[in-house]
């Protein structure tokens, strides 16, 4: 880290932090992917995690995923809640025996020294009702702040993980606020430059937070969204049904990925409807169940594909 120019240092630059994590996990042998090109609520939804976690094939990947949580919008007024933020996601299948050490070394790579900071693994079981997924693991604390989620996937999309993957999710803004010593997310130095050349997180995202908060809570077109949910659900089912191919004594699926895109779509549309407050408590559960059914069907399709290990 000391060899880096100042503007690239993870403790001075948001993008420097991202680049340092990417470099670290690239060195480990992960494929460094780019964000998935759809709206998702968390890095876990990226098919590189949800689907690749299923089946027997080894898979090591890392990527940044912009994540949208419409309900968390605060019109840019809250110092650390955002409706759009970045997660850095690492998935290692099967989970290597030294995964905790790998994680701790990644913290060292972004300047968190375990001799000075109190790093802790605090119980946090993870469950995603919409993905039909669960795992056991921890929140990773650094001096009392949650900086990552660490999960051993046991089940994803209703399918038992075999072998189990280890998933690491770094909350990038929080981590950056911590290493930069900043209390308000919008004050983060984005590009690591000073003076006129300095670009802050606020410069990049404050307007977006304000606009999208307005959209998410007040103006998002609910009639359109209800229709979109229905269409995505239908399309997902249609692609799933059309994708099956019976060959010899094995069933294969030829369209798991496009079907799963529609599942992601339905999930995000549901989150928007939820933020708009137009889904009642009882309906809420049934929407979650509908998305879960899609996710499970996609998981089942995926394990009948090549990368799902069927061939």
């Amino acid at each position: 880290m000391d060899s880096l120019p100042a503007h690239m240092r993870p403790d001075r630059s948001f993008q420097g932090l991202i680049l340092a994590l990417q470099r670290y996990w690239a060195d480990y042998g992960c494929v460094i992917l780019q964000p998935y090109d759809m709206e998702v609520g968390a890095g876990t939804f990226h098919p590189a995690t949800t689907l690749r976690a299923l089946g027997p094939r080894p898979w090591n990947a890392a990527y940044v995923q912009p994540s949208r949580r419409p309900k968390d919008g605060r019109y840019g007024e809250n110092p650390n809640r955002l409706q759009h933020y970045y997660q850095f996601q690492v998935i290692l299948k099967p989970s290597p025996p030294d995964i905790q050490d790998l994680y701790l070394k990644s913290l060292a790579a972004i300047g968190i020294d375990a001799a000075v900071h109190d790093i802790r693994f605090v119980e946090d079981d993870w469950e995603s009702p919409t993905l039909g997924a669960w795992g056991l693991g921890w929140e990773c604390w650094c001096d009392g702040m949650e900086v990552s989620q660490f999960t051993y996937f046991q089940q994803v999309a209703g399918v038992e993980c075999s072998p189990v993957s280890g998933e690491l999710t770094y909350g990038l803004e929080r981590l950056a606020m911590y290493v930069q010593g900043v209390d308000r997310v919008y004050d983060l130095n984005f590009n690591g430059r000073d003076g006129d050349r300095r670009v802050t997180y606020g410069d990049v995202f404050l307007q977006a937070e304000q606009e999208y908060s307005r959209h998410n809570f007040e103006y998002a077109d609910t009639a359109m969204l209800f229709e979109q949910f229905r269409m995505a659900e239908e399309a997902c089912k249609k692609y799933l049904a059309a994708g099956w191919k019976e060959g010899g004594n094995s069933r294969q699926h030829l369209m798991a990925l496009p079907a799963y895109d529609q599942c992601i779509k339905a999930s995000h549309v549901f989150n928007l409807l939820d933020a708009r407050g137009v889904i009642s408590v009882t309906e809420r559960q049934s929407y979650i169940l509908r998305v879960r059914e899609l996710a499970k069907a996609c998981g089942d399709a995926w394990i009948h594909t090549e990368a799902g290990g069927a061939l």
């Binding site: 110092p79 989970s95 001799a115 000075v116 605090v122 693991g137 189990v164 209390d183 408590v281």
Partner: protein, 709 residues
């Protein structure tokens, strides 16, 4: 005798599971040892975030040899029987068997089988892997490459090493040889994750515990707790503060560290404008830190200081500066959230939140929260005059009492529900009783919780609980066995305590009936059955809860049955008082004898009534009395009946019991001198009717037949 050392070294075990896991490990290993005939001298188990450890000392080195005699076939019996016997006993020829003489049935063979005991270390090598594979973690998981194989090990988090040694204090112990999945038991463990991560070779418990301590691991959770508590108190005291002790938090943080280092941090004093319970909840729940108060305030949460105490897991090279600074930043952010929530909440009046309850379902058959609040409001207003509360205030309090559920602070910290309601009510200028009821209407939460006394709180607390009970009774969601998801037993006990401790007079049947009425008016008929029996079913449930409560207080719960059996008893306070008076009476000589006399009368009657296939009721004929004792008893019964009934009518149960006591001498004298089964059938009938009169008279206070001796 030799000792066992067992350590299971893993990734971080959830704090809340550690104590039970240590206990389970000790229990499972020692139970198995005993089942294998290996009686040990002592055992102790420990847990840290990364290990479960067990020492069992004084285990015999071997199992005792087993000697067994097995009876075989008759001498000269069929060859097949003899071959079978040889096979079963492992003898090579029948000559090796003894012959047992038996002159009556004939001689037979006996085999002496000797089964040598196994070495304990071999027994351990068999039982330990089974225990590890079947360990009862509340949640367990698979991991790594092996997780793809069927039957792979499940553990709470990945298990990395097993240490298992067995041997005498004076000798180098042996490793218990076994493996679980790919893990071989050995004698290598590891120190503190950050401060001493190197491997350590251990031999037996004593050097194990000492070496761990050198490697910055305090094995014993009790020692970690003591250290944290002592250091935290001292640190607070040194700066003129007092630690606000919190046992649950202490238990939890001691399960998050192997090497506790206590540090103190501060936050901006401006946050002290937030209610102290909210500060404490924020710092405790989210950050697992302790709060401190200004010394000598004597009030646990009254005057918080702007300091907190954290427990780190390392001795940092900068003395903890970065750790304190980091925690301070997080706590500042958390408190500014809490302050923001609190201040946001203050901007909306409680009543303006209520319309949102129309969207929130309380129970699918019982409707929305808004409907429920309306019912509670109505019931509270109805109850108010009965409990001495102002109707307007009771109505207002019932209306507002649940509104804080919709506030930001309660959304974030559910445990301050009610309390925040009180703060917000006071802040918007509500009457003090109305505000108090927002908090107190949830009380009493359990047998040890305080019972509210302010009449407004009492009215709303009763209305809330009775609506809950009647509602779930109406949709047939009564508690069964150990299942009571809606805490209905607690609600019923709450009603009993509210009534008893405030000495309230209520007809359960009437109140339940009117609560049911509210429900029926509002809810559609198909969801709620108009059950005429509901109030009396509910009354029986109260009787049950009353019995349980009396039993827990060590009182006689059969007396509740004796009082309920009278019928028409639905005033809980009167029932409780009557039971108390009855209990006192039955403790006296007069009471015991009268009970015995009454039971005797009942027994005779039931025998004769069965024999004659008729009931001996109706007034006896005074003309048929011939003996003094008869006349005396008849006279006494007349007097006592009148006196006891009058006393009961005055609700003076002690006086009613004293009146009853007067029955005792004539009853005793009657049984002493009078023969019931007289030869003259008319006299006999009359005497049986007189016996019946005893039974009738005692029913003025209780049904004596339900009382156990």
């Amino acid at each position: 005798m030799p000792d066992l050392l067992l350590e299971l070294f893993s990734e971080e075990i959830p704090a809340r599971m550690q104590a039970k896991a240590a206990d389970d490990l000790r229990r499972m290993v020692t139970d198995k040892l005993v089942a294998e005939g290996l009686v040990y001298e002592g055992a102790k188990a420990f847990a840290t975030p990364r290990r479960l450890a067990l020492t069992v000392h004084g285990i015999p080195a071997r199992q005792a040899d087993l000697k067994e005699e097995r009876r075989g076939p008759r001498v000269g019996g069929q060859d097949a029987a003899i071959q079978g016997f040889l096979k079963a006993t492992g003898l090579t020829s029948i000559e090796e068997a003894k012959i047992q003489r038996d002159p009556k049935k004939g001689d037979f063979y006996v085999a002496l089988i000797e089964k040598p005991g196994r070495a304990t270390i071999d027994v351990l090598a068999d039982i330990l892997p089974v225990i590890i594979r079947t360990f009862p973690w509340p949640k367990s998981m698979r991991w790594g490459t092996r997780s793809a194989k069927p039957g792979s090990l499940n553990w709470v988090r990945p298990l990395h090493a097993i240490t298992a040694t067995f041997g005498l204090e004076t000798e180098e112990p042996d490793v218990v040889k076994f493996s679980v999945d790919a893990l071989e038991a050995g004698q290598t463990t590891f120190g503190h994750r950050f401060m001493a991560p190197a491997s350590i070779s251990v031999r037996r418990f004593e050097d194990y515990e000492a070496k761990l301590l050198d490697a910055k691991v305090v094995l014993d959770p009790e020692r970690r707790k003591d250290a944290i508590l002592t250091d935290a108190k001292q640190l607070a005291f040194a700066q003129g503060f007092e630690l606000v002790e919190d046992q649950n938090l202490l238990d939890e943080v001691s399960g998050l560290v192997e090497w506790p280092v206590v540090l103190m941090g501060s936050f901006d004093a401006e946050f002290l404008s937030i209610p102290s319970e909210v500060i404490r909840a924020t710092i405790r729940n989210n950050q697992k830190c302790f709060v401190v108060s200004n010394a000598k305030s004597g009030d646990e949460t009254g005057k918080l200081a702007s300091k907190f105490i954290l427990v780190a897991n390392i001795e940092a090279s900068d003395g903890g500066k970065a750790i304190v600074a980091g925690n301070e930043r997080v706590i500042r952010a958390r408190l500014s959230d809490a302050k923001f929530f609190y201040e946001t909440d203050l901007k909306t009046r409680l009543e303006d939140r209520l319309s949102k309850f129309e969207q929130i379902v309380f129970h699918e058959k019982l409707g929305t929260q808004a409907e429920r609040i309306k019912r509670i409001e109505r019931l509270a207003a109805e109850l108010a005059p009965l409990v001495g509360a102002d109707v307007g205030k009771a109505r207002r309090a019932a209306r507002l009492a649940k509104a804080d559920l919709l506030t930001e602070v309660v959304g974030e910290f559910p445990e301050v529900q009610g309390l925040m309601g009180k703060y917000y009510a006071l802040a918007q200028g509500e009457d003090a009783s109305v505000a108090a009821a927002c908090e107190e209407h949830y009380k009493p939460q359990g047998p040890n919780d305080r019972v509210p006394t302010d009449p407004v709180s009492v009215a709303v607390a009763l209305a809330d609980k009775i609506d809950t009970l009647v509602g779930f009774w109406a949709v047939d969601e009564k508690p069964t066995g150990s299942k009571d998801p809606y805490a209905l037993r607690r609600a019923a006990l709450g009603v009993i305590r509210l009534v008893a401790e405030n000495e309230l007079r209520l007809s359960v049947l009437r109140v339940a009936g009117s609560a049911l009425g509210c429900l029926l008016e509002e809810r559609t008929k198909e969801a709620i059955v108009d059950n005429q029996k509901l109030p009396s079913d509910l009354l029986a449930f109260f009787a049950d809860r009353l019995k349980v409560q009396l039993r827990e207080q060590g009182a006689r719960h059969d007396l509740v049955d004796a009082v309920f059996a009278l019928g028409g008893q639905d005033d809980l306070l009167l029932i409780i008082r009557r039971v108390e008076a009855l209990g006192k009476f039955l403790d006296s000589e007069d009471g015991k004898n009268l009970l015995a006399g009454t039971k005797r009368a009942s027994n005779i009657l039931s025998i004769e009534e069965r024999k004659d296939k008729r009931i001996y009721d109706g007034a006896p004929d005074p003309a048929l009395y011939s003996l003094t004792e008869e006349k005396a008893l008849a006279k006494a019964i007349d007097e006592v009946k009148g006196e006891a009934s009058a006393a009961v009518a005055r609700e003076d149960f002690a006086a009613a019991m004293s009146a009853m006591a007067k029955l005792r001498p004539p009853v005793d004298a009657f049984f002493d001198k009078v023969r019931v089964n007289d030869e003259d059938p008319k006299v006999r009938e009359n005497r049986l009717k007189l016996l019946n009169e005893i039974r009738v008279a005692t029913r003025a206070v209780a049904d004596f037949s339900k009382i156990q001796d």
